[in-house]
């Protein structure tokens, strides 16, 4: 951390929904007596989630530069509903040891979306054995409750597991999760 560079944030915690766009401004001040070129970067955040107005700028001694950081996290399961810590870093181009960074926080709010599939759609036998596939396309864990009905109102439906279950948002990332340790991507409620 160098005292020759100063970064002033308008706010260090940004709250938004995935799919929305937030523009945050910050000011870079050159506190040195050298006319220098500065490199501006964001660290700790997926590069597809933001746009930096200025990545390199010349700032005169004791002068200031106003920069814009546009945040637009995608509305999908990769933008998890949680707190994402990142930082804005400014370094002198000629001497990278002269650098300053400030921590920032992006709080993503949850959104809910899911898709259903019955496999197979048609089944023959004395009992019907289906897989109900629930794909949690949101960015947060969701508990589900399932109810079955039939045209004659004469069938009994058994779901395994039968309790309301929480599909893990990380399913979409291909990581294992869920109370029953089910396969990633699609968390299955397999009928027996």
């Amino acid at each position: 951390m160098s005292d020759q560079i100063e970064i002033e944030l308008s706010k260090d915690v940004i709250k938004t929904h995935p799919g929305d766009t937030v523009v945050e401004t910050f000011v870079i001040a050159n506190r040195s007596e050298v006319n220098d070129q500065f490199i501006v970067a964001v660290e700790g955040l997926d590069s597809s989630w933001y746009e930096l107005e200025t990545s390199s700028a010349k700032i005169y001694p004791m002068d200031r530069l106003k920069c814009r950081l546009t945040l637009n996290p995608p509305k999908d399961s990769t933008a998890l509903a949680e707190t994402h810590s990142f930082s804005v870093k400014v370094a002198a181009k000629n001497d990278p040891r002269i650098e300053t960074s400030v921590p920032m926080t992006l709080v993503l709010r949850p959104f809910y979306n899911f898709e259903l599939k019955l496999d197979p759609p048609v089944f023959g036998g004395p009992t019907g054995n289906y897989d109900l596939l629930i794909h949690n396309a949101g960015n947060d864990d969701v508990p589900f409750r399932m109810v079955g009905i039939d045209s004659n109102d004469s069938c009994r439906f058994t779901f395994t597991p039968n309790a309301p279950n929480r599909t893990c948002r990380r399913d979409a990332e291909g990581k294992s999760c869920g109370p029953a340790g089910r396969s990633p991507k699609l968390w299955r409620n397999k009928a027996v």
Partner: protein
């Protein structure tokens, strides 16, 4: 699992349109539903599987057996179309089983024949007949509890050995002569050889450095051989046997009195050895 309250009578089917409603218990997300259909029957899928060898015994001329070919007959005696899943395995995983199709749809009352190819994975390492047991598992899709097993056996006949023997005299001097015998295996499989020797008049003692020999396919191996005269009379013991006896055409025979032996005993090489 969807279980109808009343099971259909024998041979009957009954249709049920089903709908599954899924409620997310969080946030303001709306419930969603998915629909399907149950064709209720009186029993699980009923089918039969039978394996018929087309070429069960195969030769292994090149050390690797040619595939055995079979026909798997599948009969669906159920009231609905069924999809049968085929899986194969062999003892100690020695064979590859290849099906014409591993997922076979068979209509009600229909039969289907699926070609099956069984190939041994291992190279034939000797000239013995071999057999490879295997089994095939058939089950209706989503009805693994109704699996049926079919056993088969692939028989591989041994290839014919192809080898050659060469005896090269390297030191044929004196009553004890030394030779090199070479065994060349021209075949495609390893060869186990037992060596033995005799002479008709039982006057020689023939010894091999080893009598049991393992020769790999394409390999040539040497076995030293020593030939001794069994107790030759002192008067008849020549020191040189480089030329055969003119009378009996043998290299040397105890008791031989022919003039050719006398000549051979007076050769410069013989004198030089004394």
């Amino acid at each position: 699992m969807v279980r109808p309250a009343v099971r259909p009578n024998f041979g009957e089917t009954k249709l049920y349109d089903i709908k599954l409603n899924v409620f997310p218990n969080i946030g303001d997300a709306d419930p969603k539903s998915v629909t399907g259909r149950l064709i209720a029957t009186d029993s699980p899928p009923v089918f039969y599987a039978n394996l018929e060898p087309e070429v069960e015994i195969v030769d292994a001329p090149g050390g690797v057996a040619t595939p055995g070919k079979y026909k798997l007959h599948l009969s669906n005696t159920w009231s609905l179309e069924t999809t049968l899943i085929l899986e194969g395995s062999s003892a100690k995983d020695q064979c590859d089983l290849l099906f014409g199709n591993t997922r076979v749809v068979v209509g009600p009352g229909q039969s289907v024949t699926v070609p099956v190819t069984v190939t041994p994975k291992l190279r034939i390492d000797n000239y013995k007949d071999r057999s490879y047991p295997f089994d095939i598992t058939v089950y209706p899709e989503r009805w693994e509890s109704e699996s049926k097993y079919v056993e088969g056996e692939l028989k591989v006949s041994a290839p014919k050995p192809d080898f050659r023997l060469d005896l090269i005299p390297i030191e044929p001097v004196g009553p004890a002569a030394k030779y090199d015998m070479f065994v060349t295996n021209y075949g495609h499989a390893d060869l186990g050889i037992t060596l033995s020797a005799f002479d008709h008049e039982e006057l020689l003692e023939i010894e091999f450095e080893r009598t049991e020999l393992h020769v790999h396919a394409g390999e040539r191996r040497r076995v030293p051989v020593t030939v001794n005269v069994v107790d030759p009379p002192p008067d008849d013991r020549p020191s040189c046997t480089t030329s055969p006896c003119a009378r009996c055409r043998k290299m040397w025979t105890p008791g031989c009195r022919s003039t050719s032996w006398a000549r051979s005993q007076s050769t410069p090489s013989r004198r030089s050895t004394r």
